[in-house]
Structure formats: C-alpha cells, structure tokens
C-alpha cells in the first residue's frame, strides 16, 4: 500500500500517492526519508570538500618554508575560513539533524511523515542554495573570505579591505543568512512533528533518546539562528549600505582612517556567540541521542537513567543559551560578568557528566557487541570526555585568557564538536544503513575505518593541546613568530599533518564502503540488531508511508532489553503490554 495520509484535523484526509517519476520521487520529494538522504548526501559532499581543505593547510604547515610556501598567507586564511564554515554549517548542522533527524524522527515516533512535508523540502533546497552560495565564494574575484568561520568585524564589515573581503565575504554572509532561514523552517517542522504526530501510546517519556535530542536541538536552532540572522543582516548593511553597526571610530585600513564611527565589534560578537554557543550543542546533541540509542542496543541493557538522560539533554540545551560570553573573555569584559559566564559554563559540566556516567552505567555488565556502530559510539564517549575536560579549563576566564587563540582551543573544539559529532554520524550510519538502504555495510572495513580514524584524530589533536600550552597561536600561516622558537613545534606539525592524512584518507574507506554496500551489501532483515524502537518494525528500507498502512501503537518504553522473565532479550515498543512481566517494566 503506497498511500500516505497527510494528517489533517479538519475532517479531510489528503491522500497523496507515492510519486513515480524520478524527479518527484528523488529530487523534489516531500518524503522525509528522501529529504533525509538528500541532507546526508549534501553533508557527504561538504565533508569531502571541508576535509580536503584541511589537508591543504596541514600540508602548508608541515612543509613550511618562508621561501616556498605551499599556500600564500591570504590563501591559507581563505582555506581555513572555508574549512570551518563548511564543516560547522554544512556538515555538523546538516547531517545529524537534517539527515538522520529527518529520516528517523517521524519513524521513531510512529508518524507517516513530518508535519509540514513541503516546508521540509523547502528547508533542504534552501540549505543547498546556501551551500552553493558558500562555495561560490571561491570563484568570485578575490576569492573566499579570510575572516574565519566566526567572520569577526571590523575585518568582515568593511568591503574590499584585503583579498577575499569583497564579494567573497558578501557571499559568505548571504550563505549564512539563507542557512538561517533553512534552519528556522526545519526547526519549526521538527518541533511540531515531535509534539503533534507521535503515535498512540508514544508519550514524551517513551520517545527514544535520539528523538529527544532532535527535539531539543530544533528548539535551540529555532531560538539561536534567529539572532545570527539579525547579526548577518547588520553585517550586510555595514558592508554595502554604509552603516557602522560593527565599526568603531578610528579604524585604520591601508594607512587611511575610515569615516565610520559609533559601532562596536563587540556587538557582533554578542550576536554571533548568542547563536554560536547553542550551535555547538546543535552539532553535538543529536550525536548524544544517537550514541545513547546504540550503546543501549549493543549492551543489551536499558539505557541507564533514561529520565536523567532526557533532563540532561534539556539542561545542556537550556544552559547553553547563557554561556556565550565565555567566547569573549579576551574581548574585554568586566571580570564580574566573566565570573558569571564562567560559573554558568562550569554548570554545563554537570549534565554532561550525568550523560557520561549514564553511558558508562549502560555499558556496565552489559552483553556488549563490538561492531562498527558500537565502536564509533564508544569512540564518541571517549572523545566527548577528552574534549570536555579541556572545556573545563577554557571555561574559566583566568585560564582562557592565556589559552585564547592558541592551538589548545583548536584541539578542544575539534575533539568535542567536530570529531565527536563526526563519530556519532559514523555510528549512526553503520547502525541505520541497513534500515535506510536495506543492506549491511561491510563490518571489516568498518572496523578498519574506526581504528584508523580513532588513532588518527587523537594523534592530530592531542599534540595540538601541547602546542597550545607552548603558546602556538591559531590561524597563523607563518612560523617566524617568537612563540615558535620551541624546537618541537615543527616536529609536532609534521606529526599532526601525517596523522591528519591518515584520519582523512580513512574516510575514503568509509565512503567506498557506503556506496559499495548500497548496491552490493548483504541484504538486511527488518530488525538486524534486535533493537526495540519503531523504525525496526517496518521493512528495510521503509515503505513510502513508513509502516505500510499500519498505525503503530506503542506499549513499551524505548529500551526494554534483557527484561527478566520476558521471552526474548528485547521487547519492541509496539509489543503487546503482556510481553513484559509487570514487575520488570519501567526505568525507574
């Protein structure tokens, strides 16, 4: 049965047929599963570009010779800027939320589609437009911007200051503004879907943890991208209409003092980081949800402290809105304000630790299967701890003032935001691939992929902590700096570059595995992992309307593994209530 019902309370049920033409089925599709895959593929393309850029500047740093530089200083900064922007916006924001969220949120809550399928399509196409706009910055006169992924003014606010700060920067801001609109539309859709379209019996506290994570992430996106949009708008006004929101008096460019006066770069930093800090959680929260799901499945145990996990996700998201100032300790801030931001930042350590200990509690005495998905989930926990620890250092204003703008910060945020989120994407891919494509990915290649990546990324970022401690500034293309008199620095750069090549090239194994398995992998059954959530009661891949016309009814909590007295070691959420002996049901 290939008919989906667009749920409508006004007594009319819009029935739409599954499209048959290629263009409506795979290109301009309103099916959340197709849109999820589109987002995922966009992220795959973006990650290839973004990682290639990182290899370029790593090569530059390893082979640095003032006479024969691999990249000119301007090009270096352009590559750096685009690496950051592409990875943060087009990969870390799109794949976990737009990709997996779109595909699995409706299925996990038992819905036939998102609440607004056409807005969902709009959201993807706006994202694609934003991506193309961003890439176009490479090809305009002057090339891509050099102001970093944060785009700080006054550099970014003044047209034609240096290479890339003309059209390149304008396209960058335009791309970000379009991305904000796409995220807004997507966020509305996710929130409404989660609250309105849950199947019967799917109470809020029966939702699998990825759904909670996507829901809270969508709330963060709804509230934070709105501010970035305003910030970007004012940046465009400054660049093209002669306003001075971000430009103070007395700015000198090219030995000429600018006319602008009255603005403040701090204003931009407030607006940017009010978005920027929640953005970190937009990238990582879906990963936490996915990893929780996988850890419970492959430990054959209920997730330890389900409610605590839910409240921790909400707490991280909530407190995340009150800590943006910790990105600005160095920018000039009253020490009293800095202490407040510092304390709030430390507070986030509490729910984060709750999550970490609950993951460990889930693993404890579990019947663990170490397949690729599980390995990447474990890798996520490891990276989250390693990256989180340095966050405790950086969150304190006194320490941050020393570490600010050194490689220490680079190492910190790459481990926790970049690589950890990437690990969750990889874990989710190995886990859900059988559902998405009806075939398994190759396990051996998956394990090789994991170990090369795991060792690779740690070899990249652990040395960077040390380099930061020695005072190596970030974003410098040159090495003549006095900070770099330490003889270990060039050796470190060589090692980091070698490790980066290993870690990035290992992703080729993943990509080959992905596309090969899509066509040639062993065929997967409905529920290969004996997992309990709703996506595993339907066919692999799911039909157009997800459940083949059957409306699922939910009777169980999401992680009922190894329930004493039950006939098998897992109880599907849709199993009849009597599947579990009464005394054994429940998390609390």
């Amino acid at each position: 049965m290939s008919v989906a019902h667009e749920v409508d309370e006004e007594h009319e049920v819009h029935v739409h047929q599954e499209p048959t033409q290629f263009i409506w089925k795979y290109v301009f599709s309103t099916d959340h599963k197709v849109i999820g895959k589109q987002y995922y593929m966009l992220a795959v393309v973006a990650v290839v570009i973004g990682l290639t850029l990182s290899l370029m500047f790593r090569w530059h740093l390893a082979t640095y010779d003032p006479q024969h530089m691999f990249l000119s200083p301007d090009t270096y900064l352009q590559v750096l800027t685009m690496h950051g922007t592409i990875l943060v916006f087009m990969v870390l924001t799109t794949a976990p939320l737009g990709g997996f969220g779109n595909y699995f949120l409706p299925i996990q809550i038992g819905a036939v589609d998102m609440a607004f399928p056409r807005l969902n399509m709009l959201s993807f196409w706006l994202t694609l437009l934003s991506f193309i706009t961003l890439l176009a910055a490479f090809f305009v006169p002057g090339g891509a911007p050099v102001s970093g992924w944060t785009g700080y003014p006054p550099l970014s606010a003044i047209n034609s200051t240096t290479e890339g700060m003309g059209w390149g920067q304008t396209l960058w801001v335009g791309s970000i503004a379009i991305f904000c609109l796409a995220s807004l539309v997507g966020a509305i859709n996710f929130i409404v879907t989660t609250l309105d379209l849950r199947a019967r019996g799917m109470t809020l506290l029966r939702m699998p943890l990825p759904c909670w994570a996507w829901f809270v992430t969508a709330v963060l996106a709804l509230l934070s991208f709105a501010v970035l949009f305003a910030g970007g708008l004012l940046l465009i006004l400054d660049r093209h209409l002669g306003t001075s929101f971000y430009i103070p008096a007395g700015v000198i460019f090219g030995a000429k003092e600018l006319n602008h006066k009255g603005g403040s770069p701090l204003l931009y930093q407030h607006l940017f980081w009010f978005f920027g800090h929640p953005e970190v959680y937009i990238a990582i929260l879906p990963g936490m949800g996915i990893v929780s799901h996988i850890l419970a499945t492959f430990s054959r145990k209920p997730i330890f402290g389900y409610k605590a996990m839910v409240y921790a996700i909400i707490a991280i998201g909530g407190i995340g809105f009150f800590v943006w100032g910790h990105h600005m300790f160095q920018s000039g801030m009253s020490p009293y304000v800095a202490v407040a931001f510092s304390l709030l930042t430390m507070t986030i350590g509490v729910p984060s630790a709750i999550k970490t200990f609950n993951w460990l509690g889930t693993l404890w005495m579990g019947n663990i299967t170490c397949n690729s998905a599980m390995l990447f989930a474990l890798g996520f926990v490891s990276l989250f701890v390693s990256g989180g620890i340095s966050g405790i250092f950086l969150g304190q204003n006194a320490v941050d003032i020393y570490f600010h703008d050194t490689y220490f910060v680079v190492a910190h945020f790459h481990l926790i935001m970049g690589v950890a989120a990437m690990f969750s994407i990889a874990a989710g891919t190995y886990f859900w691939f059988p559902k998405m494509y009806g075939r398994f990915m190759n396990e051996s290649l998956g394990k090789v992929h994991f170990w090369l990546t795991f060792v690779g990324v740690y070899s990249v970022f652990i040395p960077m902590h040390l380099m930061g401690l020695w005072g190596h500034p970030r974003r410098y293309s040159g090495m003549e700096n006095a900070f770099l008199s330490n003889p270990f620095i060039p050796a470190m750069h060589n090692m980091v570059t070698a490790a980066a090549f290993v870690a990035v090239l290992a992703q080729l194994i993943f990509i080959c595995n992905f596309f090969y398995s899509m066509f040639k992998g062993p065929v997967a059954p409905e529920n290969p992992w004996n997992c309990t959530s709703l996506e595993w009661i339907t066919t692999s891949p799911p039909k157009f309307d997800n459940f083949g016309g059957v409306e699922p009814v939910v009777n169980h909590d999401p992680y009922e593994y190894s329930v004493p007295g039950a006939s098998k070691d897992y109880i599907m959420q849709t199993d009849p209530p009597e599947a579990a002996p009464a005394h054994a049901v429940g998390h609390d």
Partner: protein, 229 residues
C-alpha cells in the same frame, strides 16, 4: 478517557488500532500520550507560533543592537519633529486598525462566511498597504530632509542613528510587505473556496504579530528620538 470526549475533531488524526499491533488500548489517554495533538491545537497554528517566537527574537536582536549602539554613543540625534511624529502616529493608527479588520476576518471565516471573510482580509491588506505607502513616503522625506545632509557631513557614511532607524523599520516594513502579499493571496483563494478557517486564523496570528512588533519599534525608535525644543 477517550479522545473523542476531549477533542471531537481529532478523528482523522487518531489512529485506529490495527492488526498486528496494540492488542490493548494505549495506556495513556492524556494530551501528551500520543495519537492526539496536544490541546487540539492545529499543527499550522503551532507552527506559526513557533515562527513568531523565532522572528520576535530576530527583532529583539535588532532592537538590542539599537540599544547597544545608542548606549555606546554619547551623542544621539533626536530629529523627529512634530510633523514626523504625527505621520508615524497616523501609520500606527492605520496598522492597528488593520488588526481589527483581521479579527473580523477570522470571525467571519469561523462563521463559514467566505465572501465576508475574504472582504475583511482584503481590508486588512489595504491597511497594510496604506502603512507601507505612508512609511515609504516618510522614508523618502527623511532621506531628503535629514539623512542626506547628515551623510554628506559624515563623508558618505550613514550616521548610527539612521542606521538603526532603517534597519529596524526596514525589517518591519519587509514583514508588512510580505504580509500584504500573503493576505491578498489568501483572500483571493479563500473566496474561491480554497483553504479553511484555520488558515485565516494563522494569517491573523502573523498579522497581529507584525502589528505588535511595530508597538515596540514606534516608541523605541520614534518617540525616544523626538525633537525637544
């Protein structure tokens, strides 16, 4: 507790227990229990509210930027003289009146009077259009009277006061303009039998929101910069 007693209109949304699953009714029947929309609120309405939350934050950020630079500048011109205030007060009156006509439109729509509802939506759009025309006229006058001399004195750079003025009112005018197109489109199609009362109500939410934003912009931007002689 049956859903039918809580939300009589939810039958299409409430899934029937199907073969193979759900031998017993779901254990919860509360508003968050799944299978129903919480409090029976239509998804479109909920979606519009979320948009309003997000959009109000965008406006809040713009007004924050305005407050920030105004506090950061010791000298802040207060150029709006009586004629200017009179004009902006008229604009405010027009915009607020259009909220009244929108209320009438929603009411007629709920009474299934498509023609009347469509008429009042059109009246609302007309009010919005009048606002846009008055506002544009005012922009042009201000540019001639104040902005150009100030810009010339500044060597071609827009002084901050005007930067904040155009950013905030421009963003608002963009919303009103978009709203006018939205309403005209809705009115024409509603008359033709398309859409439902809920769609009029959702459009009304948007329109009242745009009005409400003006009630922040008007005092903060205009009244706080009145010329005092």
């Amino acid at each position: 507790m049956s859903e039918a007693t809580i939300q009589p209109t939810e039958h299409a949304a409430a899934p029937a227990p199907a073969a193979g699953h759900g031998h017993a009714p779901a254990p919860t029947g509360d508003v968050w229990g799944g299978g129903v929309r919480p409090y029976g609120a239509h998804s479109k309405k909920f979606g519009m509210w979320l948009f309003i939350v997000s959009d109000s934050i965008t406006f809040a950020a713009l007004l924050f930027a305005y407050s920030f630079v105004r506090m950061a500048n010791l000298e802040w011109p207060t150029p709006f003289h009586a004629a200017s205030i009179l004009k902006s007060t008229t604009m405010t009156f027009v915009l607020l009146s259009s909220s009244l006509t929108m209320v009438l439109a929603v009411d007629r729509a709920n009474k299934k009077q498509r023609d009347k509802a469509s008429f009042w939506i059109m009246m609302t759009a007309l009010g919005g259009l009048a606002f846009v025309v008055l506002h544009s006229w005012e922009w042009i006058e201000l540019i001639h009277e104040w902005v150009q001399p100030a810009k010339a004195a500044n060597g071609g750079v827009l002084p901050m006061m005007w930067g904040t003025f155009f950013a905030a009112t421009g963003m608002h005018m963009l919303h009103v303009t978009a709203g006018v197109f939205y309403l005209v489109g809705l009115a024409l199609q509603y008359k033709g039998g398309k859409f439902k009362p809920i769609d009029v109500e959702v459009a009304g939410l948007y329109w009242h929101f745009v009005d409400l934003v003006w009630m922040f912009v008007f005092p903060l931007i205009y009244l706080m910069s009145t010329k005092i002689e």
